[in-house]
């Protein structure tokens, strides 16, 4: 059995945004979803390089959609999480959860 790919913090954020967006995950919606959920304005350059790197890692895949007039006839590049990406995300989130266990960080005495 192969170990899931290791993910950085921003990579996990991007993958979670992809999961939330479903079939409508492309550059613009991913940025706005991250901004809405985390309050973090992501620079487009940082987002595209991260998406490219994650695609090379095999944790997500991309395909070209239809061209629209508001984009000057340019196609959207849609993204979706792969099976390997899902496994990597679950593994990373489990690690966070086990670290959080017993801390009562959210809403507890330490909040």
């Amino acid at each position: 059995m192969t170990r899931p790919a290791s993910l950085g913090e921003f990579e996990q954020v991007v993958l979670l945004a992809l999961l939330r967006l479903g079939d409508n995950a492309y550059g613009v919606t991913i940025r706005s979803e991250i901004a809405e959920c985390t309050g973090r304005e992501v620079a487009p350059g940082a987002l595209y390089t991260t998406l490219d790197r994650m695609e090379e890692k095999g944790v997500l895949r991309s395909w070209l959609g239809d061209a629209t007039p508001q984009r000057g006839g340019r196609a959207k590049r849609y993204f979706a999480i792969t099976k390997a990406g899902r496994a990597a995300l679950i593994s990373a989130q489990r690690a966070y959860q086990s670290l959080l266990e017993g801390l009562d960080l959210v809403g507890g005495a330490n909040a």
Binding site: P44, Y48, D52, L64, G72, R74, A75, K76
Partner: protein, 246 residues
């Protein structure tokens, strides 16, 4: 829309055409809300983010190329570690020596630009190591045979895998580019010595003038790595990187 086409053309210099179009499309979609200044600032940011690895990779690859040739010549000069075989093996050894230095140059470039996880980078490493070890320990038959066997195994295994087969093709093409530049340089020098600056006692009688030496140096140590890395990057973009998009 003309400015968008220009922007797309610029971004396409640092990534594939499809990706450039979708990136500019995303920025155009947000431009009415965020403004023109944001559009151009974001575009500059995207270009820097996508392109910074390229000059860095080339600079380090160039250093690796210098180090591979310079280090080897220094070792021969100081009689450290390895010796060059006598004829008739010298020419063959020389060809593999140049090829191995090219492979290291491309390996460094690929590792920085595409990362160590890239399959072709791993293939380059798997080919470069046995070839280099074999060259440096050619006088020890066991090591030499093991290196040859390992290289053949790597090449055979790669030929069976679709992506690695394309990688092998890229490596071969890069070596051909380098060989072409070496031959062109040798041809130019020979031409110069024969027609413009004939030496009184043949080619070995007189060293070529400084200008010719400078041209030779630039061709071998600047143009050759530049051509190799450019060819590699172009092929990587067209043969490997676009696979999931097209």
């Amino acid at each position: 829309m003309r400015s968008a086409s220009i922007a797309e053309w610029i971004v396409a210099r640092v990534t594939s055409k499809n990706r450039a179009a979708s990136i500019v499309g995303d920025l155009l979609e947000l431009e009415p809300q965020k403004g023109r200044l944001w559009y151009w600032r974001s575009l500059a940011g995207v270009i820097v983010s996508l392109a910074w690895r390229r000059p860095l990779a080339f600079a380090v690859a160039l250093c690796a190329y210098f180090a591979a040739f310079g280090g080897s010549f220094l070792m021969v000069y100081l009689h450290i570690r390895f010796t060059i075989p006598d004829s008739p093996w010298r020419a063959l050894w020389g060809v593999f020596f140049v090829a191995s230095n090219c492979l290291w140059c491309i390996l460094v470039y690929a590792a920085i630009r595409y990362g160590a996880r890239d399959r072709v980078t791993q293939l380059l490493l798997a080919v470069s190591v046995p070839i280099t070890v074999g060259l440096y320990f050619w006088e020890r038959p066991i090591i030499l045979v093991a290196c040859i066997a390992l290289t053949i195994c790597v090449l055979a295994t790669s030929a069976l895998n679709n992506k690695l087969r394309r990688g092998l093709l890229m490596v071969l093409a890069v070596l051909i580019v380098n060989a072409g530049i070496f031959l062109l340089t040798a041809g130019l020098i020979a031409l110069h010595q024969r027609f413009l600056h004939p030496a009184p006692m043949g080619n070995g009688g007189m060293p070529p003038p400084l200008a010719v030496q400078c041209v030779e140096f630039c061709m071998l140590f600047l143009i050759a790595p530049l051509a190799m890395t450019s060819a590699y990057a172009r092929m990587h973009n067209s043969l490997i990187a676009n696979q999931s998009l097209d």
